[in-house]
Amino acid sequence: MNIDQLVDHIRSSPEIMQNITYWKEMESKSAVYGSFPKGLRPELEIVLKKKGIHQLYSHQSKAVELVFQRKNIVVVTPTASGKTLCYNLPVINEILNNDDARALYLFPTKALSQDQVSELHEIMDLLGHPIKTYTYDGDTPVSARKAIRQAGHIVVTNPDMLHSGIMPHHTKWVKLFENLKFVVIDEIHSYRGIFGSHLANVLRRLHRICKFYGSDPQFICCSATIANPKELTERIIGQEVELIDENGAPSGKKHMIFYNPPVVNKQLGIRRSSLLETRRLATNFILNGIQTILFAKSRLTVEVLVTYLKQLVQDKLGKSNSVRGYRGGYLPSQRREIEQGLRSGNILGVVSTNALELGIDIGRLQACIMCGYPGTIASTWQQAGRAGRRNDTALAMIVASSNPLDQYIIQHPEFFLESSPEHGLINPNNLYILMSHIKCAAFELPFEDGETFGVDSLDQILEFLEEEKVLRHVGSRWYWTADNFPADSVSLRTAANENFIIIDITTPQHRVIGEMDRFSAPQLLHEEAIYIHEGVQYQVEKLDFEEKKAYVRKVDVDYYTDANLAVTLKVLDVFSTKDEGKTGRSWGDVMVTSLVTMFKKIKFDTHENLGWGPVRLPEMELQTTAYWMTLNDIPKGIESQDDLQNGLMGIANVLGHIAPLYLMCDPRDIHVVYHVKSPFTHKPTIYIYDSCPGGIGFSERLYEIHLELFKKAYEVISNCYCESGCPACVGPAAEVSANGKYMAQKILGGILGDTQFEEQAQGNVIQLPFA
């Protein structure tokens, strides 16, 4: 069956069609071309023609022209629109003009760097000119490093290596830094939140080093579609950029399908599990030979789906390697092998977290199924773009889960299709992040009095570091005076520094099979947890918390485990607070302590609870920023403490799901906690805090919009058809109790005032806040 037949097949299957809430066909689009820019060397034109490129797309030619005009640029175009030429052409052109010229390419992952080098080598071969391109990362052999430092025209690396392997040794890279003409940052949209805040600081350090060696590189950046590519890029690189966002590349016909699993219990508002529905749909695709990529939102879902689908292909095809999992935590060699298998077509189905969202070359996939709304519009388009890269018909399907955000999107597809994708938010001045990089920067080059490093208050921080005996002020400079290497203790990817490693002890030869960040470990690697890796189940036998090692052994059981997290929150400092009459708004610093208390065993397929066990692990502490709303008086109709409790819990559940819509962030970036009587405000309070230590700016934004968010929560609850709570609004009645939904409505109604109540009652059209 080919992809067009599959589309017809779906159309003619009523049992599938009845669950489809929306079917969007996007017509194919033909190419728009631009001219070869003046100044592009003729031999490059010849090489392009040899590659079968006779004309440049309009965005490519504009990019090259702007770079020739010494502008920084950011190119925003979808996957597979030939954006690599936007930077390769001007860079190679410059090196052909001046053999001393150097360029630095930054990719968020190693896999992407390797793709790039092979593509560059292909151009070099056709060109017949020795332009030396090397990847420099943790895998680069020590013996090769010296040559790369001396002779590499193009050094391809990642921000982590630049941060800890290159800049602290800048004196060994004199040739690169003296002659640095271009810094290329691909997938710049992926540098949001913590990673982006770190990268902005890494680049502040790069600017200092370049200045020291007398160079002033131009930045060429590429981004997937987000709401604010220009703003994000400017914040990251700390300079102005020109935006290029009209895409000249052609695209094939695309089907975007919104699928809502059928309701199985109307009273409880329970729908069939999105996971089981995804399995059913994917089975259909894969058994018909359609190469399919499945995106799941958590590592756990990935592994559960891989387990299901492997059973499937094993039965019918006699082998199970045609279905693979792909996520962070797999070893690099394993990932390379899977990427290769996808390109060659040996792998028919791959289940991935958002790890495969980025431009890793995995070749031509025909269909994409997203198990659950990916959380952001930008991610959804990126994931959907994984199908049908090269002009073919492509099919992308979102299978909604029962959480409110998914249900909102699936029932309001126009919201998804018409509104702008998310903003990339970063906070380079997050004090934790900033402080780490000021240390690294001082290690690299002493600070001079009056330097700024992107913040006005640098001198205060330098003085602080002097008090801490990390810096020493002599003459007009601040010198590093500690005997350690600060970059080693700063990880750009997470706020937590060290990962747990996972060791398989099934055979006498113990081997490392994966790793996990420090904050997730208590939840997923507690003793007796079932850890699923590549569809194989392991039970955690021992978690050595001190040494950060989890010892696991292969098991074969019919359940998985899910741990409960108990969270306490303490206000440390209030930055701003305001009394709004019925409510109060505040934002400030908080300390969040989380403790995994117990875990449940959940049976596959039926998802019933098979039992539980205690978890005894230390608390994890997180200092971050939060926004909080206090109720100044108890609204009418709330008769008891229980009423209040149930109502607040319902509101907190809804907020957790819809706040990301306002913040345009990933749902995992924030958390909601409620207190019936907060020890700090002595009133009923709902807190929303950043999940990143030090915060990356969400709470400040929430403080600005305050009640708007609660209006939206009120609409979601009021519009839900369930009787007394369901996973799509306040949560199941079993959790918030029978009156939870009603109490939540009461409280929100009270906060928002009667007028709002009346508008609702009359069924006025709700204004989308995003328009």
């Binding site: 602290p168 040794h169 800048h170 004196t171 060994k172 004199v174 001045n429 004090l431 900033l434 402080m435 001082a442 290690f443 690299e444 080059l445 002493p446 913040v455 006005d456 208050s457 205060q460 921080i461 602080f464 008090e467 801490e468 005996k469 990390v470 020493r472 002599v474 003459g475 400079r477 010198y479 590093w480 005076t481 500690a482 005997d483 350690n484 290497f485 600060p486 970059a487 080693d488 440390l572 400092d573 930055f575 701003s576 610093d589 200092q623």
Partner: protein, 456 residues
């Protein structure tokens, strides 16, 4: 820009004490070491570009640098003040008659220091005037641009003896003038001698020169890292080839009240804070000893290589023989092997020497010359060695054409191999070896058969 910065900074400092003020062991009393140095501040072997002023007590009033007034600490050296700032230089002379452990410095001048490129593996033979010794004390071991060598010790040989010059920056602003002065000394010499300097001291200094925009020197093949030489010489019997362990085991020199190396960064930072010099003086002494040890080590090593039969122990003889063989100095290598075989007490050492000597003879003098050694090795009481039997079989088969004796040897080897396998030694009794032996046996049997047909 950052709300409530002050409070946040305060919170950070109470939460994470970055600096551990525990430096108790720095306060212990210092015992001055004077045993074998003669101090002579007047000697000048090069023209300094700075005007020197005796003692650090006088301070140039024109200096703009903040804090220079506090820097009047007495390290027993000179404060050098130049156009770019000041620093301390301390000069110590170890006279020719100095004894360092088992080494007599005068040996260097007594013996002609020549014909040494074969063991230094440098691009030329070096003489004593070429050599500059270098050792640094740094603010950390991690390397990278934020690690500063705050004390640079340099040593060279003159007619007066070993001159040790130590350059100390009393604060970070003294780095540049200090580096200028160090560079000025180093460039007078052709060969750099260090201990672990290829991996540590030199790259670090090079990085400082680059940072200060000074053109670094390129030693390349004229950098002699004694750690590498020491590993070749003693690696097979010393557990550690650290300078301390070599001083103890080889040079028989024990330092008294030496400070442990890992405390040095802390002592320097402490000195910057408090300007107390007691512990720093120990660091300077430590560095001075390192330079002296480097000189003694160089002298000792060159003496061993110059006359191994006279000075080297059996272990060293074997190492030197290997080095000689590598340089195709077959005659001398043979003598060292023989001497090692004659004097070695440790059985495995003797066997190793015999084995190497036998292979050397086989290669250079022909297989029949090695036969005695193979027979000795194979014939020893309880010998489990297979290779001498194989070598004997090879020679008997192809050289002497004595197939019967060759078969005998092969069968003995087969027996040994299966015994080793039975004992669980699959390495020396590998099935690959056994297959080879059986192949040889079959071939020998065929040859014997054929010769019987022909003659018998």
């Amino acid at each position: 820009m950052i709300p409530n910065l002050k409070n946040k900074l305060k919170a950070m400092s109470s939460n994470s004490p970055l600096h551990n003020p525990d430096a108790g062991n720095l306060e212990r009393p210092v015992h001055e070491q004077t045993a074998y140095t003669e101090n002579d501040g007047s000697l000048d072997t090069y023209e300094p570009i700075y005007k020197s002023i005796n003692n650090g007590n006088k301070v140039d009033t024109d200096r703009k640098t903040v804090g220079c007034n506090e820097r009047m600490e007495d390290f027993g050296g000179q404060a050098i003040i130049g156009a770019y700032g000041s620093f301390i230089r301390k000069r110590t002379i170890y006279g020719k008659s100095t004894i360092y452990g088992s080494v007599n410095l005068s040996d260097l001048w007594a013996s002609s220091f020549s014909d040494n490129r074969w063991w230094t593996r440098l691009d030329r033979d070096i003489c004593i005037q070429d050599i500059v010794l270098l050792d640094t004390e740094t603010t950390g071991l991690a390397g990278g641009t934020g690690t500063y060598p705050f004390l640079i010790g340099i040593g060279y040989f003159t007619d007066n003896g070993l001159v040790i010059e130590q350059y100390l920056m009393r604060d970070f602003d003294e780095e540049y003038p200090m580096l200028l002065a160090v560079l000025d000394v180093l460039k007078n010499f052709r060969v750099l001698v260090t201990f672990n300097g290829k991996a540590f001291d030199w790259p670090l200094l090079e990085s400082r020169f680059v940072y200060s925009r000074l053109r670094p020197l390129y030693w390349e093949d004229s950098h002699l890292d004694l750690l590498h030489v020491a590993r070749r010489l003693w690696g097979n019997f010393l557990e550690s080839c650290s300078l301390v362990s070599i001083e103890d085991k080889i040079l028989k020199q024990q330092r008294k009240n030496d400070i442990p190396g890992q405390l040095i960064p802390k002592i320097y930072f402490d000195y910057l804070e408090t300007r107390k010099t007691d512990a720093m003086k120990q660091v300077i002494k430590h560095n001075e000893w390192d330079i002296a040890a480097l000189a003694a080590l160089l002298i000792h090593i060159s003496k061993l290589y110059k006359n191994p039969i006279g000075y080297a122990n059996p272990h060293e003889l074997l190492s030197i023989a290997k080095e000689l063989e590598r340089n195709h100095r077959i005659q001398e290598a043979s003598e060292c092997y023989k001497c090692c075989i004659d004097t070695a007490v440790i059985h495995s050492l003797k066997v190793d020497a015999k084995k190497r000597f036998a292979y050397l003879r086989k290669r250079h003098d022909g297989p029949e010359e090695a036969m005695n050694l193979w027979e000795e090795l194979a014939g020893e009481e309880g010998s489990m060695l297979i290779f001498p039997l194989v070598e004997m079989a090879k020679y008997l088969e192809h050289g002497k054409k004595d197939y019967k004796k060759a078969l005998e040897c092969t069968e003995r080897a087969i027996q040994l191999a299966s015994r080793l396998r039975n004992n669980g030694d699959y390495n020396n009794g590998s099935s690959k070896l056994r297959d080879e032996l059986f192949t040889r046996k079959r071939r020998l049997l065929k040859k014997i058969e054929r010769s019987i047909e022909q003659w018998g």
